[in-house]
């Protein structure tokens, strides 16, 4: 397919349909995504020479990619509804004022630090689905709660979720972590402070930002340094989680220093420490089991013995776009984060029942709420992943990225690279998939232009990390626990512009870095 303005706009059409429906017409995520899917199918059939077989296999591929996400989504919603039923969300909301009476500090603890830490356990919008209800419990509107949690953890996506996105970048480009990690850690480190500042402003206004600015700077510095140190020393799979844990601890320590201390709110009424420990035990179990499965090789090997994948044949469109034959990503049902969530739910249910936190009829209520929230969210995810699969197998995604890269001069390309990462993540809902889609394209473009390849790839994955949190697929999941199903457009409207701030900062940094280091690098 020749690249010109018309074909480029045609490739963009499915995304435009999703954006206009969600942002302009406030359509629900599932409806906008379904409309995007139909548009992608029509454009690929009529203009990109896709055969029905290409589209059929694309849908099979989409289902496989969706399964990975949906298993986590259903598990996370089950866990959330269980802890909500037991009263844990209310208990955490009531406990926060006892840590600090400063609303800005409370907001930062939940929607900047805790949400980033949870990103280490599993992404796909789950950190938002867990933390947003706590903010609603603190009195914030559901829309603001989702926006704050989304922006707060955007920096942690690349090295979070056991760095699956970063590993994908290494796998597709063939470059080592030692080459890629330093620049990626620095670019993402630069996004930590802006993310926290946006959260502080949204949560408590400019006054809150002024008041917490020294705290924000210190904690950002610590998180950036820890993430960089771990990433460059080969521990990238723990870099974001450890960094946010360090940030959380430093924040709690700083709050003990008289200069930062603010008396707990007079009305602070929290559960006793023992009660609070029982109530939050599901999160502790989740952490323990999650880390054990990932970090104990023998356990991981044992649980990963069972794996399923599909074999897809080589596909080609009538216009000659070829997608190589492939084996889909294996699905390990026993070591999958969804199974870890289900195991956590089971153990937590036993603990809660034993301690008397579960009342009669709770099981039915939980099941009803899970089905209600997850049903809509799941349809949206399936349709949106379908859009990505159709666009990729028919060559539309490649054309879109080629258009972006070829319309920009060599000097300005480093500033464009993060936006290509954003595009991939917005489309697929995943930093990981953005790197798979565009990693090689960015590398080849950088080589042809004589640019610093690791820097361009770092900009790609940083953009993917920051852009993934505003993707419809993630926002749909984030909205599912705060009663915003079918109203995701309200969140997208606020989120997209605010989330572009750290992206622009990363783009500017990549541009300046490229200019300072000269070509090649």
């Amino acid at each position: 397919m020749p690249l010109n303005l018309f074909t480029w706009l045609l490739s963009l059409l499915p995304l435009l349909v999703v954006m206009v429906l969600m942002l302009g017409l406030r359509a629900s995520g599932k409806r906008a995504s379904a409309a995007g899917w139909v548009t992608a199918v029509l454009v690929s059939l009529l203009a990109f020479g896709a055969t029905w077989k290409v589209l059929a296999y694309a849908q099979v591929k989409a289902l496989w990619m969706s399964l990975d996400v949906l298993y986590i989504v259903w598990g996370a919603l089950l866990l959330y509804n269980l802890v909500h039923e037991a009263g844990a969300i209310q208990a955490i909301s009531a406990w926060l004022p006892s840590v600090s009476g400063d609303k800005a500090v409370q907001v930062l603890l939940v929607s900047w630090l805790m949400v980033s830490f949870l990103q280490g356990m599993g992404g796909f919008g789950v950190p938002m689905a867990v933390c947003a209800p706590i903010l609603v419990g603190m009195g914030y509107s559901p829309v603001l709660a989702v926006v704050m949690t989304a922006i707060g953890h955007a920096w942690a996506v690349n090295f979070g979720s056991m760095a699956t996105a970063f590993q994908a970048l290494m796998a597709v480009t063939g470059l080592s972590g030692a080459v890629l990690a330093p620049k990626a850690a620095i670019l993402l480190g630069l996004a930590i402070l802006p993310s926290g500042m946006i959260v502080a402003v949204l949560g408590s206004g400019w006054k809150g930002l002024r008041h917490t600015f020294p705290l924000l700077c210190l904690v950002s510095l610590v998180m950036g340094a820890v993430q960089y140190f771990l990433a460059v020393n080969g521990l990238w799979n723990l870099a974001a989680t450890t960094a946010s844990l360090a940030g959380l601890l430093v924040m709690l320590l700083l709050l003990r220093i008289p200069h930062f201390r603010q008396a707990p709110a007079a009305s602070a009424q929290s559960a006793s420490n023992a009660d609070l420990l029982v109530l939050v035990s599901p999160y502790l179990i989740l952490m323990l089991v999650g880390f054990a499965v990932v970090l104990i090789p023998s356990l991981n090997a044992f649980l990963s013995r069972t794996a399923f994948s599909l074999t897809l044949p080589e596909l080609s469109t009538r216009l000659g776009w070829v997608t190589a034959a492939e084996q889909t990503r294996p699905l390990h049902p026993f070591s999958h984060p969804g199974s870890i969530l289900l195991f956590t739910v089971l153990v937590s249910w036993l603990i809660y029942t034993r301690k008397g936190y579960i009342s009669e009829g709770a099981g039915q209520r939980i099941a009803r709420n899970v089905v209600k929230s997850a049903g809509d969210a799941s349809l949206g995810v399936i349709a949106m992943v379908g859009v990505a699969a159709v666009m990729t197998t028919s060559g539309m995604t490649n054309l879109l990225a080629r258009g972006l890269s070829q319309s920009i001069s060599k000097t300005l390309y480093p500033a464009m690279a993060p936006f290509i990462g954003v595009l991939g993540a917005f489309l697929t809902g995943s930093n990981n998939n953005s790197n798979v889609l565009f990693g090689v394209l960015q590398m080849e473009t950088a080589r042809l232009m004589g640019l610093n390849v690791p820097l361009i790839l770092a900009a790609q994955t940083a953009g993917g990390s920051l852009g993934s949190v505003m993707s419809p697929a993630k926002v749909i999941v984030g909205c599912s626990t705060v009663g915003l199903s079918q109203k995701e457009g309200l969140v997208m409207r606020r989120l997209v512009l605010l989330d572009l701030i750290p992206v622009v900062i990363v783009a500017a940094a990549a541009l300046i870095w490229s200019l300072l280091s000269g070509a090649g690098g």
């Binding site: 429906l21 017409l25 406030r26 359509a27 629900s28 599932k30 409806r31 379904a34 409309a35 899917w37 139909v38 199918v41 029905w52 077989k53 589209l55 059929a56 296999y57 849908q59 099979v60 989409a62 289902l63 969706s66 949906l70 599909l310 089905v371 209600k372 049903g375 809509d376 799941s378 349809l379 399936i382 349709a383 379908g386 009663g483 199903s485 079918q486 109203k487």
Partner: protein, 65 residues
């Protein structure tokens, strides 16, 4: 999104779930049909998936609180 579709039944929770189950299970059957070269069945299944997507777009959603 406000469309003139009052004459159509609303997409209830049960209907949404049914659509979800269909959109989740049909691609598996589609894969099996493609692998066993039952192309007419595969076309039919892909048509059903597309019909499900159209239903999501066309049928009005039940308003939520």
């Amino acid at each position: 999104m406000k469309l003139k579709q009052n004459h159509l039944p609303a997409l209830s929770l049960r209907a949404s779930l049914l659509l979800f189950v269909l959109e989740l299970s049909l691609p598996f059957w589609l894969y099996a049909a493609l692998n066993s070269e039952k192309l007419i069945l595969a076309k039919l299944l892909f048509g059903l998936i597309a019909a499900g997507m159209l239903a999501i777009i066309i049928l009005p959603e039940k308003p939520k609180r």
